[in-house]
């Protein structure tokens, strides 16, 4: 290992992030690749550092990926999604109502109070609100700002939104499809008392973003090693379980239009990656 280590950024949204990246780092070292990870308290600072070349790679939320693209374009750089989790493809969000509330179509939501996740949650705020707005349904959003700056990685906001729905504080709640399954299983959403009234188009979630200033050969090696990680290997299986994937896939750019349109619709970021949302304080 004569070349300098690759520098990878990740957001520490949970203590397990340390376990995951320490584990990946050791495994990569054993395979002859030095990677140092740097943990961030929120995505915006990490994206700034990526585009400034202080990082080679960033484990980006979909929102962070969009901003990285805009910032890079504005400064003459370029970024691309190197790899992503298999579990980050084709997610959907749903809007849920109480069965007894008399809301039977999406149009019935007009003027109603909809609980969402944090201000910067793609799956529980930006995408579902845009989905309603595109269909001409004007609602009042009641945000549960848990973990602002973590781009919805913290599930707390969605869970509070679901509770608010059950408690009758709101008329509807928005959440990721998989979290709807989780909340129904947990009993946060009592079985048989709620109904999915809307489901968004599929969209992609996180990706490993690489900036063009990163050393090419090492980045290629990094991608090859990740893509070669097997769920059959017990040394990485618990890391894959913790990170929530069964295998790494190549990155793709075509799953982010839904979010990009949502970001533009509400003016979350400017065209050059500016933080436009006044209420957003990561």
């Amino acid at each position: 290992m004569t070349t300098r280590p690759l520098v990878l950024g990740a957001v520490a949204y949970d203590p397990k992030v340390v376990t995951i990246w320490d584990g990946f780092r050791s495994w990569l070292r054993e395979h002859g690749l030095a990677v140092d990870h740097v943990l961030y308290p929120h995505y915006e600072r990490m994206v700034d550092d990526l585009v400034a070349g202080r990082l080679d790679l960033a484990w980006n939320s979909p929102l962070a990926w969009l901003r990285a693209g805009r910032l890079a374009a504005a400064t003459g750089r370029s970024v691309r999604p190197l790899v992503m989790r298999d579990t980050d493809r084709d997610l959907t969000s749903v809007v849920v109502v109480r069965d007894a509330a008399g809301i039977t179509t999406i149009a019935d939501l007009a003027g109603k109070l909809v609980a969402t996740g944090a201000i910067d949650s793609p799956q529980a705020t930006l995408i579902p609100l845009a989905h309603l707005a595109e269909r001409g349904v004007k609602v009042q959003a009641h945000r549960f700002d848990v973990g602002v700056g973590l781009h919805g990685d913290h599930i707390g906001g969605e869970r509070e939104a679901a509770r608010a729905l059950v408690d009758g504080e709101v008329d509807a709640a928005a959440m990721l499809d998989a979290n709807h399954l989780l909340f129904v299983k947990e009993g946060v959403l009592p079985a048989g008392h709620t109904r999915v009234i809307a489901q968004t188009e599929p969209y992609d979630h996180c990706n490993m973003t690489v900036v063009d200033t990163a050393p090419r050969a090492a980045v290629d090696r990094f991608a090859a090693l990740l893509l070669g990680m097997s769920y059959a290997d017990p040394r990485v299986r618990h890391l894959l379980d913790l990170e929530g994937l069964t295998r790494w896939e190549s990155g793709r750019t075509d799953g982010y239009q839904v979010l990009s349109a949502a970001v533009d619709r509400c003016g979350f970021y400017g065209p050059d990656g500016e933080l436009w949302m006044p209420a957003y304080h990561p």
Binding site: D86, T87, R89, D90, L91, T92, V94, L176, D177, A178, H180, L181, V184, K185, A191, R195, V196, Q199, S230, Y231, A232, P234, R235, R237, H238, G244, T246, R247
Partner: protein, 400 residues
């Protein structure tokens, strides 16, 4: 393209539908398709989300005759991958133990199919020759069948009257017994967590032994307090003797000193107490504890005899252990005088000089019986008779 099909009926993935899905997907090859039907209103949202997390893909159903499925699941490879290279943690049959079970088997049931990875806990007592005895499974089964309830096994309310001196002697002996039981409980309990779980039957046996000692403590304590008085004395020499047992961190040496020598001597003591007990409650508690102690001695002798047969250095180490303990206790007073006197008085039954003389002789006879027993067990482990006699003489004067 041929498809398997699964109808979940009204069952959702929040109420167990995933069991049917896993069962239907299990025999299929990776890449095979399963058409999933169902009436649960959340299924169209939950099925793709579940598949994504499980490493399966979903496809929208192609138009065809009849009602379309909710989705077509394309089976992923993850379930097979998890069990790739999985091995069995030995043989589940009773007593089918391996010489050196690996650390990675950890807490798994013997014979379970082990997913790779996971912790490799260090159970340092992981050598069959060190911990195992062929008799352990039967001893455990026997021990489990002989458990008794302290509340009902002793005739606590049977009427009797003792002169205050005799009652005080009983209380003193009970006080002494309780502290010995404390040591007998702590010592195996400390080894229990160090034994590799592969040797399940040994762990079970020691666990029951610990529970036995807990009951012994209870019944002796309860007998001591039966007439409403306080407890007797605890001597520094007695506690020193017991503490050398607790300090011994070598499993073989510890079970030699505790079980073969100490509990062995205690079987004689409890037999003595049963014989000379002045009341039915004392007689019964002594008898109950004696039954259990016999088992404790049996296991100690069995696994050490087993170890001695494969390890020629064992007897030498046992000899040094007894000598070391003797040296460590050389400056202590040995058996609490109050206990010795109480034993004499109990065996005498009264204060007449002839009675005391007889009681004294009975206690001496007890000591000779203890010595005989120790020599017999030492010989059973392989010590020649003269050496067994010499080593028995070095045993603590505190009995335990």
């Amino acid at each position: 393209m041929s498809e398997d099909r699964l109808d979940l009926g009204g069952l959702g993935l929040d109420r167990g539908g995933q069991l049917l899905l896993r069962r239907a997907l299990a025999p299929l090859a990776a890449g095979s398709r399963l058409a999933v039907y169902g009436r649960d209103p959340h299924l169209p949202v939950h099925l793709p989300a579940w598949c994504r997390a499980e490493g399966h893909r979903v496809e929208s159903p192609e138009p065809g005759q009849g009602p379309p499925p909710v989705a077509v699941v394309v089976r992923g490879a993850r379930p097979d991958h998890r069990w790739h290279g999985a091995i069995r943690a030995g043989d589940p049959a009773t007593g089918a133990v391996q010489r050196h079970p690996p650390a990675r088997w950890g807490l798994a049931a013997r014979g379970a199919l082990l997913e790779g990875g996971g912790p490799e806990p260090h159970f340092d007592l992981d050598d069959r020759d060190l911990v195992w005895a062929e008799v352990a499974p039967q001893l455990y089964a026997y021990a489990a069948s002989r458990q008794w309830d302290p509340a009902t096994a002793v005739p606590w309310s049977e009427p009797f009257f003792l002169p205050p001196d005799i009652e005080a002697a009983v209380v003193q002996v009970m006080t002494y017994l309780v502290e010995n039981e404390q040591a007998a409980l702590v010592v195996p309990a400390r080894f229990l967590g160090r034994i590799h779980p592969h040797f399940r039957e040994v762990a079970q046996l020691l666990a029951v032994q610990v529970a036995d000692e807990a009951r012994h403590m209870e019944i002796f304590n309860r007998r001591a307090l039966l007439r409403g008085g306080g407890l007797g004395t605890s001597s520094a020499g007695g506690r020193s003797s017991l503490f050398t047992l607790v300090e011994e961190s070598d499993f073989s040496l510890s079970s030699f000193l505790l079980s073969v020598l100490g509990e062995g001597s205690f079987v004689n003591l409890l037999g003595f107490l049963q014989r000379y007990a002045p009341d039915p409650v004392t007689r019964r508690v002594a008898w109950l504890a004696m039954q259990d102690e016999r088992r404790h001695v049996l296991f100690g002798v069995a696994h050490l005899a087993n170890q001695a047969s494969v390890d020629p250095t064992l007897l030498g180490r046992l000899r040094s252990a007894i000598e070391r303990r003797h040296d460590a206790l050389a400056d202590t007073a040995g058996l609490n005088d109050d206990v010795f006197d109480a034993l004499v008085l109990m065996a005498a039954g009264g204060w007449e000089p002839e009675a005391i003389a007889a009681g004294h002789e009975r206690v001496r006879q007890l000591e000779r019986d203890m010595d005989q027993g120790r020599r017999r067990r030492l010989e059973r482990l392989g010590f020649p008779p003269d050496e067994a006699a010499a080593l028995s003489a070095l045993h603590t004067r505190n009995f335990m």
